[in-house]
Amino acid sequence: MKTDKILLDHGSGGKISHSLFSQLILPLFENSALAQQDDGAVLEVGGQQLAFSTDSYVVDPIFFPGGNIGDLAVNGTINDVSMCGAHPLFISAGLIMEEGFPIEDLKVILKTMAHAAKKAGVQIVTGDTKVVPRGKADKIFINTSGIGLIPKGVNVSGNHAKPGDKIIVSGTIADHGITVLSTREGLKFDSDVKSDSAPLNHMVKAILDSGCDVHVLRDPTRGGLGTTLNEIASQSNVQIQIFEESLPVHNSVKGICELLGFDPLYIANEGKLIAFVPEDDADKVLKIIQQDEFGKDAVVIGEVKESNPGKVVMQTAIGGLRRVDMLTGEQLPRIC
């Protein structure tokens, strides 16, 4: 049934978030940058191309193995700007805190943010703090925005995928979402699962500096790899085929997914990218990614085809074929 209220699903990053965007938001703000529907807006100012992006973080719990809401907020925006083919330079941070939030926790979060920014080589140059009465927000929410410069000649976008492209993923999928979920639910797994929260701007720079032809860069965050691939398939009007056997998933993450009935294809990542690269350059780009500290487990997971545009299919390990649809419904709320 249609709803006249915002449901948790509207924040899933899946189908229903997309319809909120395309039916309500886009028509009201109609402009060409927004209509591109990439991770950030690509703008031209005085002959220079800029990338500009914003994101809000409401993760629960705010501390989890591998990071906290602070580095998540910084890395997330760095990555969104980077996926436009840009070098991120400056970031803003807006904090919304609940009355009674411990200063000690805030200190830890701010320190992590500073450290993450330093590691990525960006500066947090402006910001804002607001406090709301107890119970009106949950601990702390963070919004970050970032801008970066797009070097001359670089032109990556979700609508540039071409038949024949190889698809590279920079490492194991589903680590972040599964970490947050198992921390939140107090699930005790004797596992080494931790969030993959990481800045990918150095990796992107190395790819672009190599002179290799890159058609698409994306970070499969909320909604997971499956949803991101669907976005690209429909933006570029191509079919995407992936191979189940090549999908990199940590053993323990796979185990937790099995146990809880989740599909790693729809679980959020916070430090992974996918690159669509013409076959001739694929090996070279793969090696470059593997040399980066966050790309050691990079592999080719699939390719772009012509038939059946807009669809994503997967060859399963047993040789069957199945569709990979966009995430429908909220798989996990408040994961980032």
Binding site: M1, K15, K254, M314, A317, I318, R322, G329
Partner: protein
């Protein structure tokens, strides 16, 4: 984490051997029903339909708990959500199922306190934390879930937890199989029997149905190799004309099942008639709380006794879970009914046939 365990039964080369054997042996047209929703999901997830020969049709059966829940029970959950000072606790899939005019999700967005829980014990904890409120758990499950629900009632009773109750729409598998065999127009050449349910019930629970109807029946696990093995056994039984009740999941299922769990269930529940979507009332197919536990029965506590209501118009969910129709034969499929705006529960539950069709098949 028992990962190796899973991978072994996902072994691609073993699966491929089974696939070619099935292709070699199978000649007759066969309609095999996977009774359990988890099987349906696994079959789609691994693309098993696409590797079987064209003469084998797999049908999704009545083993998706949310899908078989009668409309009046969904309406009861919604009524609970509308009551003041009631917290409704439920497994996730249920909240989007449309009742007559609303859904738990809708009530939630209107301010009702509806909480998704992963276990019934989350619900008893919520009851402990909220002594001023009544906590109702929507009990929608089969033999697999019923023991835990029974245990929660025992615990609640021991703890004197007075603000906790369950609404039992729980159901039993074997009577549903018998009802299918009796129903008009149903053509089934074999059952792929549910692994998880059988862990509790044991193989023996199906013997009555098997002997009465002489229907090839194989208990199966959920990994591709398990399912393919069960399909091969059913094909062989049919080709040879020798129906049998076999257990292809012996690593988890015994003849007697889990006697401890069965004892706990017997303490709390008794068998009663139950109303199934599409099929109607099946005698002796439900689980109701025994008299001694009536204070934990939400239906009694809140005098909730709704009449049978018709299912959503045009929704073929009931026929689908009897193997009479496929989702694509429903006029509303993908048109009026989508996962974002579902008409029937088969489109809501991740284990539902319509949801699986839309999600995994092109």
């Amino acid at each position: 984490m028992g990962l190796k365990y899973v991978d072994e039964y996902r072994d691609a080369s073993l699966a491929k051997q089974l696939i070619s054997k099935i292709n070699d042996v199978s000649e007759k047209p066969l309609r095999l029903m996977e009774v359990c929703g988890t099987h349906t999901m696994s079959i789609f997830r691994h693309g098993i339909r696409t590797v079987l020969p064209g003469n084998i049709t797999l049908l999704a059966g009545p083993g998706c708990p949310v899908c078989v829940t009668a409309q009046k029970d969904i309406d009861a959950f919604i009524q609970f959500a509308r009551m003041d000072d009631v917290i409704v606790t439920t497994f996730g899939d249920l909240i989007k199922v449309p009742g007559s005019g609303s859904s738990l999700a809708r009530e939630q967005s209107l301010g009702a306190d509806v909480r998704i829980v992963y276990s019934v014990f989350d619900a008893t904890n919520i009851a402990k934390e909220n002594p001023g409120q009544q906590v109702v758990f929507c009990g929608v499950g089969f033999e697999t879930t019923i023991p835990t629900i029974a245990a929660s009632v025992l615990t609640a009773s021991g703890d004197g937890l007075e603000n906790f109750s369950i609404y039992s729409a729980n159901k039993l598998t074997p009577p549903a199989l018998a009802a299918l065999m009796e129903a008009d127009g149903v053509e089934i050449d074999g059952f792929i029997l549910p692994g998880h349910v059988s862990v509790i019930t044991g193989t023996d629970a199906y013997r009555g149905t098997f002997e009465k109807y002489d229907i090839p029946s194989v208990i199966s696990g959920f990994e591709p190799v398990d399912i393919l093995k069960a399909v091969l056994m059913l094909v062989e039984q049919n080709e040879k004309g020798v129906p049998a009740l076999e257990n292809a999941y012996p690593r988890a299922v015994s003849d007697q099942g889990n006697t401890k769990a069965k004892i706990i269930v017997d303490q709390v529940f008794e068998i009663c008639d139950a109303s199934w979507r599409g099929i109607g009332t099946i005698p002796q197919s439900g689980m109701c709380l025994k008299d001694a536990f009536h204070s934990f029965d939400a239906a009694i506590k809140f005098a909730m006794d709704l009449p049978d209501v018709p299912e959503p118009k045009g929704c073929a969910c009931g026929e689908i879970l009897m193997g009479l129709k496929t989702p694509k034969e429903c006029k509303l499929y993908k048109k009026r009914c989508t996962p974002m705006d579902p008409v029937g529960p088969c489109m809501v539950s991740s284990e539902g046939a319509c949801a699986a069709f839309i999600k995994y098949s092109n």
